[in-house]
């Protein structure tokens, strides 16, 4: 069953141009991605165990995806034995309905949340707010974009597109609305201090917490959360009701295999051996313990993931959302996350968006968002063959007639011409003849049909009046 993901209805060229002309976003996203990708490269230096663990993690994760049919009931059994309640949601609508029902039936009023790409995918906040519930994002980046009514622009750094002045304005507006003291400057420390004070109140007064999950261990019924800020520690220890919303692909089979993968998100995402906080929830609080939820609900979400199993794209489900592929992608670094129009940007977004939704949204992504430079394939710690998948998706797009017929015809004709030497030479003769219409001061400024796009931002030298091939044909009789 295909999943549903939100999509920006703005056409690609407008999204792209908006990204390219946003100099603030381009500067901040450049700094953030550089910092992360340098960190990833450095953290493995002199730490061979990290690399060995990564290899073991790839194997374990691939196996867990293959064994999902047995691991899923096992996880549910373990969680329920531990006193939690589990739910399996086939799609976004079902998942959202489960969470809203839990909140409403318990008369919840204030919800605090940790960062979760899956809940972005489900548009959970929107649904909770429509149901009259207050929900506050507690990861600083997520809090910023929630205030700005925007979506994340990077899997790990959701507010990577905003600068400190913009954030200060948001916080000042918030302070005015709430009648509290605003941040005293636009430096990162004062802005963070403001958010700390503001969110502390929410932590202490919330009656329900919502988390995502980096991993879920079938053997022990444990959900693992990784943060640097410590907000997951607040969300899991303070409210009396806890709901964890986790994709079915996050399941690991055993406690032992968890040990191989647990450091990989931090190592590959931010270049640390481990994030500041790794938080483990295995059940509601026991008699005599004061911390932790009284009720723990685990909502496992499919939303299109099963569609990928047993296909050539199965490895995509191994993604640990480290963001490394985004950080090295030359397209992402230029256009930023919002240009993709999907919750999942960058190379992984290009691959996952059409696959999870069975091509119902943003079918242009595999064609427009990749230069096939292969940097993402090299950066991915889970060895997901992203560049190859992007090519496969381009082919699939043609098979599904998702490419405009004129474009498909042009490429077919082009391929046919260049398949033989004589066809290639003939095409050059035609180009030389045709280019006269587009020549200005010895440079080509435009071209007809699909070639037009190429000239939107650049010029080209014309086809030479005599190519090397032609010169060679004339001179080779003379011998070399």
């Amino acid at each position: 069953m295909a999943g549903t993901l939100p999509a920006d209805p703005t056409p690609w060229h407008e999204r792209r141009d908006a990204g390219l002309s946003d100099s603030t976003m381009r500067r901040t996203i450049g700094t953030v991605t550089k910092r992360f990708s340098t960190g990833q490269r450095q953290v493995f230096n002199g730490y061979p165990e990290g690399a060995t663990a990564r290899e073991a993690a790839v194997k374990a994760k691939r196996q867990a995806i293959r064994d999902l049919d047995t691991l899923l009931p096992r996880l549910r059994d373990s969680v329920e034995t531990n006193g939690g309640q589990t739910y399996l949601a086939r799609d976004a609508t079902e998942a959202v309905a489960v969470v809203v029902k839990i909140a409403q039936s318990r008369k919840v009023q204030r919800i605090i949340k940790t960062k979760s790409m899956l809940t972005e995918e489900l548009q959970l906040n929107q649904a909770l707010q429509e149901a009259g519930l207050s929900v506050v994002e507690t990861d600083l980046g997520e809090y910023i974009i929630q205030q700005a009514h925007e979506t994340p622009s990077h899997i790990l750094a959701p507010a990577a597109h905003k600068n400190r002045d913009q954030i200060e304005t948001l916080f000042r507006d918030d302070a005015r609305e709430k009648g509290i003291t605003p941040p005293n400057s636009n430096n990162a420390e004062s802005l963070t201090r403001y958010a700390r004070q503001r969110l502390r109140e929410d932590f202490l007064h919330a009656d329900m917490g919502i988390t995502g999950g980096n991993f879920a261990v079938a053997e022990t019924g444990t959900v693992v959360l990784i943060t640097n800020e410590g907000n997951a520690d607040m969300v899991t220890t303070l409210p009396s009701i806890l709901v964890s919303v986790v994709g079915i692909e996050k399941i690991m089979d055993t406690w032992e295999t968890l040990g191989t993968i647990i450091q990989q998100p931090a190592m590959n995402g931010i270049g640390q051996r481990l994030s500041s906080y790794t938080t483990f929830v295995s059940g509601p609080r026991r008699e005599g313990v004061v911390e932790g939820p009284v009720e723990w609900h685990l909502v496992l979400v499919d939303n299109g993931r099963n569609l990928l199993r047993g296909t050539e794209f199965e490895d995509v489900l191994s993604c640990i959302r480290c963001g490394a592929c985004l950080n090295v992608c030359p397209v992402f670094r230029q256009v930023g996350g919002h240009a993709y129009g999907s919750v999942y940007p960058g190379p992984i977004g290009i691959v996952e968006t059409p696959l999870l939704t069975d091509w119902r949204i943003l079918p242009e992504l595999p064609t427009v968002g990749c230069t096939v430079c292969h940097a993402c394939g090299e950066a991915c710690p889970m060895e997901i063959d992203l560049p190859h998948h992007i090519i496969q998706l381009r082919q699939e797009k043609v098979r599904r007639h998702l490419v405009a017929s004129g474009v498909a015809r042009s490429y077919r004709w082009w391929a046919k011409m260049w398949a033989t030497a004589s066809g290639y030479q003939r095409s050059l003769r035609w180009a030389r003849w045709g280019q006269r219409l587009y020549l200005k001061q010895g440079t080509l400024h435009d071209a007809p049909g699909i070639a037009h796009g190429w000239f939107v931002s650049r010029n080209m030298p014309p086809v030479a009046s005599e190519t090397f091939h032609e010169w060679w044909l004339k001179h080779r009789q003379g011998g070399t």
């Binding site: 901040t28 700094t31 953030v32 165990e49 663990a53 531990n82 006193g83 990861d139 600083l140 980046g141 910023i144 750094a157 990577a160 400190r164 954030i167 990162a188 963070t192 958010a195 969110l199 502390r200 932590f203 202490l204 022990t220 444990t222 640097n228 800020e229 410590g230 907000n231 520690d233 607040m234 899991t236 220890t237 303070l238 406690w255 032992e256 968890l258 040990g259 647990i262 450091q263 931010i270 640390q272 051996r273 481990l274 994030s275 500041s276 906080y277 790794t278 938080t279 483990f280 295995s282 059940g283 509601p284 609080r285 026991r286 005599g288 313990v289 004061v290 911390e291 932790g292 723990w296």
Partner: protein
């Protein structure tokens, strides 16, 4: 040099190095007197109470081998400290929220990552490590294992605590223009005393 160290010495070195790299402070202490001295040093580095406030609450729990120490008395030497032991009152959450320092023991620690593992139980709480602005963790050197996987392995077989966590440095973020800021929701100052039992 390293090869001549006995395993737990190598672990202590590496733990101290990594914990410091992650942004924490470390004191090594062998024996009662050294532990008390390290606590004093840690207090002045980590707890920065408001001098105009009449009571400086501290919330704490320690591992069994350090329970004989009169923590309240020791901490009172540094100012108007009121030390609350975990579980000594109903409203531990309120105490942790107002505390100037949280002191905890730990179940195990990890050398290669510079981390400490804390379980939520009747006698050991997590709030002292997250709600106050500073956290001091007391780590028995014998409890330091080399890798996270080894630490997790120790837990296998028995029922897991419903809630536990691994702490590796202070609370931090780089969400604003990639600038690193320490002390977001959790403590901005963290220290570890590595002691010998």
């Amino acid at each position: 040099m390293t090869s001549t160290l006995c395993p737990d010495e190598a672990n202590v070195r590496e733990f101290s190095q990594r914990w410091t790299k992650a942004g924490g402070m470390v004191w090594e202490a062998c024996g009662y007197d050294a532990i008390i001295k390290a606590v004093e040093q840690a207090w002045y580095q980590l707890a920065i109470p408001d001098p105009s406030v009449s009571v400086w609450p501290v919330i704490y729990w320690v591992n069994p081998e350090l329970q004989h120490i009169e923590w309240s008395q020791i901490l009172q030497q540094y100012g108007p400290v009121k030390a609350w032991e975990w579980g000594s009152r109903e409203d531990m959450r309120q105490v942790a929220t107002t505390a100037v320092l949280g002191i905890t023991g730990c179940a195990w620690a990890v050398a290669v990552t510079g981390s400490v593992a804390l379980y939520a139980s009747e006698t050991t709480g997590l709030w002292p490590s997250i709600l106050p602005p500073a956290h001091l963790v007391l780590v028995a050197r014998q409890r330091i294992v080399r890798t996270v996987a080894e630490g997790l392995r120790q837990m296998a077989g028995a029922p897991l605590p419903p809630l536990f966590k691994i702490v590796t440095g202070p609370s931090m973020t780089a969400d604003i223009e990639g600038t690193l800021v320490i002390g977001v929701h959790g403590p901005g100052r963290v220290g570890a005393i590595v002691y010998d039992v």
